[in-house]
Point group: C2
């Protein structure tokens, strides 16, 4: 069994690679829910939907989120009625938020909703929210404290970031099955997702880091920072705010207490010694997922690195 | 001030006539909410939306409900995710349900939602839900008891009807301002709506009939039954089930305790004596609202009948 800690677009593309090289049903994706929020009275789960819809083959591949061919008739009318329109919700997309909200209101858990969506959309990767509780990621800025989506989408990441807060994280539990999946995993992969606001909220949950320390499974991460910048999203100011260098070294630093290997891009090959100095192995490869083949190649590189450690461990035993 | 008791499509078209002949801001429509129900976790108010969207000029005029030019992308995806699809909800239409539900969940009343929708859509007729409480209309059939929309839309009115129940009506209150509007009205009009499930739920609210008995304003109804059948909807089995003849006489019977004049269609001219025998005046005219002019003509006929009584009362005073 392969467990992947996942954020949004980068993770979804990485998982698209992984399902090409191992049976999808052997993969468990533990997905960040720190971005989840309510808008129009609906429960919106950006990363869960990105991962699910990508694996279902219905994602808008160009933007990486939203459903292919979607329209915005409902959103236009929500605006006309006085509702907020800063978060672009397509008509098809809204069906996920409406159905999820309806189920949650009847006592169905977010994990169960994820299962139902996977079944409905033909996704056999096991997708788990990191928690069934609400753990919103807040960005503390010089202009005030905002939910991540407010900071990132509504305010377009223009505020100066002072820090990040995972609200309620200390009192929350990982969703049922999350710690068990980590304990049972043969390989643990950290997708190329924002280490602060995508992987960070997962790691902040009680028991998560302990489970990663306890496992004997190899743990391999793919750096989302290439050539000193993220491929997508607001990682740079967020990493800086929490004191990490905006580089593959910074990523290695974020995971140094449990990571075995970091997969970095060829443009960052010179950073290898600095990462190895943290006691973390390095694999250098092409990490830009421009094509389906590139996704599979990256997933293969991560898996090969993990299996190399696994066999070393096995031979030592 | 003119108060109109209103159901859905017939009432909306009648109001379209009324706004052509009197200033819209002098009209208050008290609208049935017995058809309101929850689906997909959303609060749906069919009659309020039909009346509001008709007066806003955005209704799908062919079907009489829904928004012109609407699409169903969201509904198709709701179905794909396992949600019910028997109630046709357009993408634009859904915006009303989403926004209403969001506001209701924050403590805004249905009356306030109606006001906000009117403002947003440029409707100056005062639209009031009959109650801010939930008073669902149930249809008792040989196959079981169903919410009106389940009976009418989901089960296509195929069940044998035994009776009608306004659940919670006795404990409910008319919305704030409803009884006051009736008390202050110069004219009270009952739109050509189903007397059992459109006007019936309004009349069943505590204090409503008393207010109609107490007013000195003329009360004029337009018969929705023409030539022994309703122009639209399931009035026939419902009227029969509650013991009323499916005719303009049956309509007169339903309102006999407070009605001054019933406007009936020319095809029903022969029923005039039977209605007058109930102590109710009769105006015979063309009641089929095929055109904008026909709507205005019908509204004018009702208003003229009311003013005739009003001036009689005035001259007697």
């Amino acid at each position: 069994m392969i467990v992947t800690l996942a954020g949004g677009v980068g993770a979804a593309r990485f998982l698209e690679g992984l399902v090409q090289i191992v049976p999808p049903a052997t993969i468990t994706a533990i997905v960040n829910t720190g971005d989840d929020f309510q808008l129009h009275g609906l429960y919106i789960a950006p990363d869960l939907d990105i991962v699910t819809c990508t694996l279902a083959g219905v994602i808008d591949a160009t933007q990486g989120w939203g459903i292919a061919g979607d329209t915005t008739a409902c959103l236009e009318w929500l605006g006309r009625l006085g509702g907020p329109t800063w978060f672009r919700l397509g008509d098809r997309d809204l069906a996920l938020h409406i159905q999820r909200t309806a189920w949650l209101r009847t006592g169905v858990t977010l994990s169960q909703v994820a299962d139902r969506f996977c079944r409905a959309l033909g996704v056999t990767v096991k997708i788990m929210p990191m928690s069934d509780q609400t753990v919103p990621t807040h960005i503390i800025t010089t202009a005030g404290e905002f939910h991540f989506e407010e900071y990132f989408v509504q305010r377009q990441a223009t505020d100066e970031v002072l820090g990040v807060r995972f609200v309620g994280s200390e009192q929350a539990h990982p969703a049922s099955g999350v710690l068990e999946a980590i304990a049972a995993a043969e390989v643990i992969l950290l997708a190329p997702s924002n280490p602060v606001v995508s992987i960070g909220p997962i790691l902040a949950l009680p028991g998560l880091r302990t489970a990663l320390h306890a496992t004997s499974a190899p743990i391999v991460a793919v750096s989302p920072i290439v050539g000193g910048a993220p491929l997508k999203g607001p990682a740079a100011p967020l990493m800086r705010a929490v004191g990490w260098e905006v580089s593959a070294v910074g990523v290695a630093h974020a995971y140094r207490d449990f990571l075995n290997v970091l997969v970095i891009d060829q443009v960052d090959a010179a950073l290898k010694p600095a990462i190895e100095a943290l006691g973390i192995g390095v694999v250098v490869t092409d990490t830009i997922m421009r094509s389906s083949a590139a996704k599979a190649q990256l997933a293969q590189a991560a898996l090969t690195a993990a299996r190399a450690i696994g066999s070393v461990s096995a031979s030592l035993a």
